[in-house]
């Protein structure tokens, strides 16, 4: 294993026991993610993306295979990974600030040590002035930004994002793509980003791993060498279009 490999997944297979019999969710998934890489997993519904994410975070133990993060095998839920789900999953009774501080209070760490960081992150995600607002007073996009700030509050090296912008409207989604890249450029965390949008995948990724469904398998892995920082112009350039067409073909073939 090369020493810049941060995440190593090998022979990952997972089988669910359901009422109607065993369901193979993932079959022989293997990939490596380098430190600081923006790694995108692209696939249609049913390709086991969410199962994969739960295994990567340690929330689920695979029936077969290993996941090694930063040299250590993942055997229980990882503490210092920033997780962002498709839904914001905020505590409705807490302010934006208290929601960002949730990992701190949950782990029993001293809040005053992290207050500055939390406020900084709220500003970073573009929500300055909204610290004391409750989730019901925030739009979907704003709530999701709070959830991203929360994922960053422990300064994780590793971020797991499962279709984080899937519930947002298309315009907000494009804006959030750029915002996330800006945040990432700051600390260059290792990010695994799951999506079913080809456009989003090409815009964000250093490398895209395409998965096919039933059972979830790796179809192909391809680097995206578009220049950074990527802007709206990137979406319009020829190379971007080529990547998109390429991926459409890959996904079509496996449908």
């Amino acid at each position: 294993m090369r020493n810049d490999v941060y995440i190593h997944v090998n022979q990952l297979t997972h089988c669910y026991q359901t009422r109607t019999g065993p369901v193979l969710a993932l079959e022989d998934v293997a990939f490596d993610v380098e430190k600081g890489e923006f790694f995108v997993i692209l696939g249609p519904s049913g390709c086991g993306k969410s199962t994969l994410m739960r295994i990567l975070s340690g929330l689920l133990q695979p029936t077969q295979g290993t996941v090694i993060v930063n040299g250590k095998p993942v055997v229980h839920p990882l503490e210092r990974v920033g997780i962002v789900f498709q839904q914001p999953v905020l505590l409705k009774w807490c302010t934006a600030l208290d929601n960002v501080l949730l990992p701190i209070t949950a782990l029993g760490l001293p809040v005053k040590d992290y207050m500055g960081k939390a406020l900084e992150l709220i500003e970073l995600v573009g929500l300055a002035g909204f610290e004391k607002k409750y989730p019901r007073e925030l739009s979907g996009g704003m709530q999701q930004r709070v959830s991203i700030a929360r994922a960053l509050v422990l300064d994780p090296d590793f971020l797991l994002m499962d279709e984080p912008f899937g519930a947002l409207d298309a315009i907000t989604r494009d804006v959030m793509n750029e915002e996330l890249l800006k945040i990432w450029h700051d600390k260059k965390q290792t990010i695994i980003f799951i999506t079913h949008s080809i456009n989003e995948a090409v815009f964000m990724a250093d490398k895209i791993m395409v998965m096919s469904p039933r059972p979830g398998r790796v179809s192909l892995t391809t680097p995206i060498k578009l220049a950074r920082p990527r802007t709206v112009e990137t979406r319009a350039c020829a190379e971007f279009g080529e990547h998109v067409v390429n991926l459409y073909n890959v996904l079509e073939m496996k449908a």
Binding site: R54, S57, G58, L59, P77, L78, E79, V81, I83, F85, Q87, V89, L91, K92, W93, C94, L102, P103, T105, A106, L107, Y134, P135, R136
Partner: protein, 260 residues
């Protein structure tokens, strides 16, 4: 619509209805035992002694409150037990489901035989009717958590107790108050019907006596007092709800939904 209009319009409608009622009574002159007018009911309050009113009102209010408050306490405890322990869940939930379906009022005569015709029976009936909405709603509220939120608590290695206190309890508050609002209306009904079945005190008793004597004004006056009490109980709950949940959407619709 401005706040002032929202208060004035129902108030005006109410006054007009009362006026129409009084006019009808004056014009048609129905016998008092059939349809008394608003003034006849007011006269009941003037003529009957304050002491007697206090005795009966006090009896009913005390019984209702005791039954209602213990129902809330036990309801919350039972809900926490059901959510915290698989054993308690398996043991209690089927029994609760069965008891929920049986009209608790049907127990009233039985309770009277077992516990006599005193205030205790009334408290017990009130407790029984108020208990179920609280425990059912509270259990639902403690359980209805997004699975991703549970995932997060596992990532932060939170103990079951901390999850209960920090996540489940706050999440359950809206459900809890829904249950309490329903319980408050049921508690008053339970107390009155308990008194109908067998009591020698209370507003329910007054209604029975009034009916037996064809003293319809007294019956209606008693119903008026009960209604005011029930309304107060409900409104106090609404106020407590608003105070304890500043984060909650407090639209008029949410109050109406809980009444149905």
């Amino acid at each position: 619509m401005s706040k002032l209009k929202r208060v004035l319009i129902p108030l005006m409608t109410f006054i007009v209805l009362i006026a129409v009622w009084q006019i009808l009574v004056n014009v048609l002159k129905p016998p008092k035992f059939l349809l008394p007018g608003p003034y006849d009911i007011v006269k009941v309050f003037k003529t009957m002694s304050l002491e007697i009113w206090q005795k009966h009102i006090g009896f009913t209010i005390q019984a209702t409150l005791l039954g209602f408050l213990t129902a809330i306490a036990f309801g919350v405890i039972a809900a926490v037990g059901i959510v915290s322990s698989e054993f308690i869940n398996a043991a209690i939930t089927p029994i609760l489901v069965v008891l929920q379906v049986i009209p608790k009022i049907a127990f009233a005569p039985l309770l009277l035989i077992w516990f006599g015709a005193g205030q205790f029976s009334i408290i017990l009936i009130t407790f029984l009717v108020a208990f179920f909405p609280v425990v059912v709603n509270m259990t639902l509220g403690l359980n209805e958590i997004e699975p991703e939120l549970i995932d997060l608590t596992r990532c932060y290695h939170m103990s079951k107790m901390r999850v209960l206190v920090k996540i489940r309890f706050p999440n359950a508050m809206p459900y809890f108050f829904s249950g309490v609002k329903v319980a408050s209306t049921l508690a008053v009904i339970g107390a009155i019907i308990g008194e109908f079945v067998g009591s020698n005190q209370g507003l329910g008793y007054l209604i029975i006596i009034a009916n037996n004597n064809l003293n319809t004004p007294l019956a209606m006056a008693s119903i008026l007092v009960i209604s005011i009490f029930g309304l107060l109980l409900y409104e106090i709950t609404v106020i407590l709800e608003r105070i304890s949940m500043p984060w909650k959407d407090s639209s008029a619709d949410s109050n109406l939904k809980s009444l149905s």
